[in-house]
């Protein structure tokens, strides 16, 4: 079992500017993580890959989460080694949402290439020195970043109306609205 405190100390000893600290989960059922300073992410990734004490040979996924005042980017690292298997989540917080920037780690982990593209596509985090910095799931000329909480779908795309009224299933919408009311009523009842 990986001890996150030891690992955070190890990261700090390798990369002093990382200021790694453990974000302990409030509830026992949830996962804890290590948070590092955004500017140090490339150095941290390098030190995680090339060391003998905590070798992490696989970057599994990069998952961005949009919060009201910052964007949190989660890197899930793992060691695919039968005798020494462990994994952990590395977090970094990008404060400036209008100009969110991080250093790309795709030179260290090739897996980051597409994962960072998806993070950019969905949350608008720009990755410096990325070899192929384009959108991946949405069209290249799509506006906005869908997984931001304040995202509003554009009205017109290339002269085509997005979500035209004639093609919307209004029955479903009314059904969803009713469901929401029922859920609210149930929540109230369960509180009592």
């Amino acid at each position: 079992m990986l001890n996150l405190n030891d690992l955070a100390q190890f990261i700090n000893s390798k990369v002093p500017s990382a200021a790694a600290k453990v974000n302990a989960a409030a509830e026992a059922v949830c996962d804890s993580a290590i948070e590092v300073a955004p500017a140090s992410i490339l150095d941290v990734a390098k030190s995680l890959k090339d060391n003998s004490k905590y070798p992490f040979n696989v970057l599994q996924v990069i998952s961005g989460v949009d919060y009201p005042d910052h964007i949190e980017v989660n890197y899930m690292f793992a060691n695919f080694d039968l005798n020494n298997a462990y994994e952990f989540t590395l977090k970094t917080k990008v404060k400036n949402k209008n100009d969110a920037k991080l250093e790309s780690i795709s030179s260290v982990y090739k897996a980051a290439d597409w994962q960072e593209r998806e993070c950019y596509d969905m949350l608008g985090v720009t990755f410096n020195n990325h070899p192929d910095h384009r959108r991946i799931l949405c069209p290249d000329d799509w506006e906005g970043f869908p997984l931001r909480k304040d995202y509003v779908v554009q009205k017109v795309y290339r002269g085509m109306e997005v979500n035209p009224d004639a093609k919307m299933n209004w029955g479903d919408r009314e059904f969803a609205k009713r469901q929401e009311e029922i859920t609210k009523a149930q929540t109230k009842a369960s509180k009592k």
């Binding site: 599994q60 989660n74 899930m76």
Partner: protein, 391 residues
């Protein structure tokens, strides 16, 4: 393949015809989005030098349905049908992965019988999914009849699932806290019968396809993804095991009740003259996995206990504030669910780590130097489902 001088990126077309100088250049060709060999709506932009692929750039997103955005507006139970629709060929396994993440945060105790049924349906689904991979892969390489044999068996599994859940592909069967519907003794007997028949069928597939000379020539030494490359890209599942790495989450980090069953993890060993990590290795790993799944199903049938199938879950599911990252072994690789909750009745963020997304990203590195026909064999061998890639 050996006789070809593989040009890679340094192509200098300087062929001259005596009478006139002909200019030759790389031809850009779009494979897809609607191409039968790409198993869905994948577009691969390839630059070809005659029959050899010089560059390949996969373009995805044609099946993007904003599943992650949708799930932020649904309650935790309402997400399950959306999870089904990601990997429509391995829906039970996807449901299990998502439900395990919710249950981990909720701290639900799942009844024993429900756990057995979950393992049973996910292993049956694994067989069904691998049968689909087997059938369509043979179809890609020009053999039609294996497809029919595979669908014959797959149909039996789908019939059972239809009786269990009311749907053939998108089940909404595994629920938070247990499963929706109990399995009857008659159905269990039919599963046992299926297992007996299926082992005979597997022998037939082995003689018909796996040992087929043409099939072997088309797949051996083609599209080699070695262990180092798999680690760099983070590949999992049959692709990683096909590269000779004995890595299976059901063994390494058992979830549900997989620690109670005996089974092996098949890896590629270069048998029958294959190179470790080539298309044939990945194919043969899937074939061996099916018989391991049968082994697990047999153990479920003897060990299954009677009892309730649904644990105690409140009507409105509210998870504590926090996040989890749960991984499960799906037919195509490791599914990771990153679930963030802010304490409300809806997920704050649901990020799905799709195995196929990773595998498709490897195509760009494997393709240069391959024949176009071999590239088709490579795409087929990683067994992608685009619904899961694009989500």
């Amino acid at each position: 393949m050996q006789g070809w001088d593989v040009p890679g990126e340094k192509i200098e077309p300087t062929r001259t015809v005596e009478t006139e100088k002909l200019k030759t250049e790389l031809l850009t060709l779009n494979m897809g989005p609607q191409h039968p060999a790409t198993h869905g709506v994948l577009r691969v932009e390839i630059k070809t030098d005659s029959e050899v692929v010089a560059h390949a750039i996969p373009h995805i997103g044609y099946l993007h349905r904003c599943m992650e955005k949708h799930s932020e507006n649904l309650d935790y139970r309402g997400v399950i049908p959306f999870v089904d629709r990601m990997d429509y060929l391995g829906a039970m396994n996807q449901e299990l992965g998502y439900v395990l993440a919710v249950e981990k945060m909720l701290g639900t105790q799942v009844p024993r019988r429900a756990e057995f049924i979950r393992v049973l349906v996910s292993e049956l689904q694994r067989i069904a999914s691998h049968l689909m991979a087997f059938g369509t892969y043979a179809l890609d390489l020009g053999a039609f009849s294996p497809f029919l044999y595979a669908f014959d068996e797959r149909e039996k599994i789908l019939r059972l699932f239809e009786e269990l859940s009311g749907a053939r592909l998108l089940y909404n069967y595994i629920w938070v806290g247990g499963v929706w519907n109990d399995i009857t003794a008659d159905q269990l007997a039919r599963v046992a019968e299926f297992c007996d028949n299926f082992e005979e069928e597997l022998k037939k597939y082995d003689v018909l396809v796996s040992q087929n000379k043409i099939f072997m020539e088309r797949t051996r030494h083609v599209g080699i993804m070695d262990a180092d490359m798999c680690y760099r890209y983070g590949a999992t599942g049959p692709v990683l095991r096909g590269a000779g790495v004995k890595w299976d989450l059901r063994k390494v980090k058992p979830y549900s009740i997989y620690n109670e069953f005996e089974f092996d993890v098949p890896v590629a060993d270069g048998d029958r003259g294959a190179t470790i990590g080539d298309c044939y290795s990945r194919y043969i790993v899937r074939m061996k996995e099916m018989s391991e799944s049968v082994r697990i199903i047999r153990q479920v049938l003897t060990k299954i206990e009677s009892g309730p199938i649904m644990g105690k879950v409140s009507k409105v599911i509210k998870l504590p504030k926090g996040e989890v990252f749960v991984r499960t072994e799906c037919p195509r690789g490791e599914l990771g669910i990153h679930l963030v909750s802010d304490g409300e009745a809806k997920p704050y963020r649901l990020k799905v780590k799709s195995p196929c997304f990773t595998h498709v990203s490897m195509l760009g590195e494997v393709a240069p130097g391959q024949l176009i026909a071999d590239f088709v064999a490579t795409i087929g061998s990683i067994d992608i489902v685009l619904g899961e890639v694009d989500r």
